[in-house]
Point group: C2
């Protein structure tokens, strides 16, 4: 019960083709809800059948036609109804947690490298979020009602990445205790 609604939100903000949606999902909203273009096309088909969206075929020169999907009144109703339904907390899935439990049965050096790689990935993502925050929300206290959601989502991303880094650091301090911070 969710990709449909993520797409509805994205289309409610601005109508788009499946292709456009796929790119948006690679960028902003997709950091919190991944979807491939194949999936998006499939779900858009279902949503059209349900009457939540209608395609608007737009001819382009030098490029293939595209179907720009627009949210219908029924789609907006569904979106509003969905916000009123309580959400379930999604279960955490951490391969790293499983690997940490596997420490006595595996290769500590390889696991350590894996943690370092994760730390780097978290740092990159954090840098990207911080840059987005500085560019799109330079004065967080002054965000408009329309922008508030985007800002809060970004804050969630920033907090999560910082926590990821902090966890990796705690792990590395235990796995590589003799090193100092620089070469850990």
């Amino acid at each position: 019960m969710a990709l449909e609604h993520a797409i509805l939100v994205s289309l409610a903000e601005r109508s788009a083709s499946g292709y456009d949606l796929a790119r948006r999902f690679d960028a902003s909203i997709g950091h919190f809800w991944k979807a491939s273009h194949q999936q998006i096309y499939k779900v858009l088909g279902r949503m059209e059948t349900a009457g939540w969206v209608t395609p608007d075929v737009v001819a382009q020169d030098g490029r293939p036609d595209k179907k720009v999907y627009v949210v219908t009144a029924a789609g907006r109703d569904e979106l509003a109804a969905w916000t009123s339904r309580p959400s379930t907390v999604e279960p955490t899935r951490s391969e790293l947690a499983v690997k940490l439990r596997a420490l006595p049965f595996g290769d500590t050096a390889a696991i350590t490298d894996d943690v370092r790689a994760r730390r780097r990935a978290h740092e990159q993502q954090l840098a990207y979020y911080l840059e987005s925050a500085a560019r799109f929300y330079p004065r967080p206290d002054d965000v408009t009602a329309d922008e508030l959601g985007g800002w809060l989502v970004l804050r969630g991303g920033i907090l999560a990445e910082q926590t990821g880094i902090a966890w990796c650091d705690e792990i590395l301090q235990r796995l590589v205790p003799e090193a100092d911070d620089a070469d850990r």
Copy 2:
């Protein structure tokens, strides 16, 4: 590429039946990798075919027989090999993030309630983790090599729940700005 390995880790720590595993997955390791009993039975079947585990049928009185699965040498090899393969960072999935973006199209009061419910859930989970930490790892600096993984996983859980609470608080401060902390 993951439930197999979570099961291998759990069985390497202690042999168990599918039913036992399902209960363990409800408790400790399952906080970081959920699995239902139906899924576990199916995967155990596959793992037996692959030669990673062997069943040991144990008769019980007043209860149905159970198949206690034991990790084979091949299973241990696979487990060790898996720890050496780099892991992929699992994509975040946050229904709350999507809902925040839906604020302009939905019911703010309902979304606020949802955030409050999530905050409570995070607090409960945090309390549970803290209690586990106090009970099983009273002296974190003295954990043995065998316990280290469990401790670090618990730390990850604690950090994640604290971050979840902090995020909810930031959201509530924006959605219910006039209230003071107590009745927010």
